[in-house]
Symmetry: C2
Subunit: 344 residues, 2 copies
């Protein structure tokens, strides 16, 4: 690593003081045109770059955002892309840490970013996380914090999230409209907010349509294709099995689909299937899978925007909450009755 040219080098070369050089470079007051020009020319020639560390030390800000996410799957990659784009635009660099759905690593990541002195945090908690002391610690230090996607109820801060209840409603209502009557749900881990909200929508819709809630049809499993596959096998092996399945993610929908095919059942005939996230894969498999779009990219951008606003408004902001509206994309896996609207 070569030594960078500093303001001092320029000062010595031009027989000036460092303060004068500094002023010249920043077009500040108290500076003669000639000297300013000379300084700028030499700076250009020596490829001078101001040392960010020195500035950060002085100004107590690093222009860096710490992003903590549980993994880098399709949805979160897309969100990170959105965050990145907005952050870059605003002059911030992003540090992404994956907790890999592990509570322990989430804490380690928080510590790391905390003493990297990031200007703030954008966090989506892991599915393992049930205690939030590490998040509270961020708040205690008065460091800006925005939660997104997997938000937590009892933490008071700006949030960006999907209207998950609406998503659950859309998926379930669609299945009801298609004539399915025994609708099962493959939900995520029990403490996961997004999962519970989607389930809430599911339950609401069943009740609204006068359908009985069958507890055997509510299954909690990991966000994982394999688990979903096995859970579906169990569902289908029941005495009075469901005629439709709503899964909380597309990966789970794929797992369910494999189990359904293995059993020799048809979609949408024997079983209806709706997933969540609207990943590209849903339109590639056969039958294509209906899924709820959650506009990840926009959500990422909205999160970063909210965060930047917060940072610039300096002091206490009333905790805003941005709620993105989901939208179901109907495909073959659940379409028994032709729709009026064009399908995607």
């Amino acid at each position: 690593m070569e030594k960078q040219t500093t303001i001092k080098d320029i000062a010595i070369a031009l027989r000036l003081s460092t303060s004068t050089v500094s002023r010249a470079l920043r077009d500040a007051h108290d500076i003669k045109q000639d000297t300013k020009k000379a300084v700028k020319e030499l700076a250009e020639k020596l490829d001078y770059q101001p040392n960010k560390l020195a500035l950060s030390l002085l100004n107590r800000q690093t222009h860096t955002i710490g992003v903590i996410i549980p993994n880098l799957d399709y949805v979160l990659s897309t969100m990170v892309k959105g965050i990145d784009e907005v952050a870059l635009e605003a002059g911030y660099t992003v540090m992404v840490c994956q907790s890999d759905e592990s509570f322990g690593r989430e804490i380690v990541n928080t510590k790391r970013l905390l003493d990297s002195l990031v200007d703030g945090f954008i966090v989506s908690v892991s599915s393992e996380t049930k205690v939030f002391e590490h998040i509270r610690k961020i708040q205690q230090k008065k460091i800006p914090l925005v939660l997104f996607d997997r938000v937590v109820n009892n933490i008071d801060c700006p949030k960006v999230r999907l209207d998950n209840v609406a998503g659950g409603i859309q998926a379930t209502q669609h299945l009801v409209d298609q004539g399915y009557k025994k609708i099962a749900i493959l939900a995520g881990p029990e403490n996961l907010n997004i999962s519970n909200k989607r389930m809430e929508g599911y339950l609401q819709t069943l009740k609204l349509n006068g359908l009985k809630v069958d507890n055997r049809f509510i299954i909690h499993c990991d966000f994982n294709q394999q688990y979903a596959y096995e859970a579906t096998k169990e569902l289908l092996a029941m005495r009075n099995p469901p005629d439709a399945i709503f899964t909380i993610s597309d990966r789970m929908a794929i797992g369910a689909m494999l189990a359904i095919k293995e059993k020799g059942l048809s979609m949408p005939g024997d079983i209806g299937l709706v997933g969540f996230n609207n990943e590209p894969v849903t339109s590639l498999v056969s039958p294509s899978i209906s899924s709820v779009e959650m506009y990840s990219f926009e959500m990422g951008k909205a999160t970063a925007k909210l965060f930047i606003e917060m940072l610039h408004s300096e002091d206490a902001m009333q905790p805003a909450e941005i709620v993105i509206k989901p939208k179901i994309f109907v495909r073959e896996s659940s379409l028994r009755i032709p729709l009026k609207k064009t399908k995607s």
Copy 2:
């Protein structure tokens, strides 16, 4: 943002000098047991965290790695995951910047990370990048650099890459073994090394098996499902169309598959298809698509390991090159003659 407790605070509270406190905290020489204990206890109580910026300014290192990648697709996310894991272990934090396959943004990202004073770079160039001055600039400043995945030939530095020629050979030879004789290739942009190398393997294999190379069957298009779809339609519309297609990525394979299906042709009967990357989607579609696995996660880990080694060995290392061996996973889209080995 609250003021952090500094070494000075402790010094004042204990009526000591900052140097003494510093020594106490680092278990250094010249320190009485009692004072050391007192300092450490107070530090604990005040939740003292050493200021990394000050340290970085002093030691001229930030313990940060700049990673530049063209996007966050399946392959690269997986690689980043590998890099992240190893880096974290070694005490480094990763700054990921996506160029979004844009040359301009790649340069911007380089600049940004450069004046963020990262300790080194791990780079995979965008498909647009044909000029490498920005990379050279990194080298001129004697900043450690490792290229991975999309490496560049005429840059002299450690590299981690796939044996792309071998990948092309495996894919093509497999198609030949299955009795296909008119094999087309959907390659990437012309200047992209990985694409050319895979094509080299393709050409070699054709020659080795005494098959004629038909230039109409060599198509360059973007790494993109839509382009691949259209290119395939053109291929199939030819007077003497190919009987097999080798695509340089799985996304392209999907595009090709859609065109093949649309034309009413069957796989593997009428047309054989082999993709690249071995993304999960290949085994989810019907027919499942044969694909060449490139061990992205391992590649990411290997890259980070090489990088860390380089960083620790301090001075000039002979540019190592780690070459990962690919492996084809045969599936329905190209399997006409049963294999001896078990398929995946």
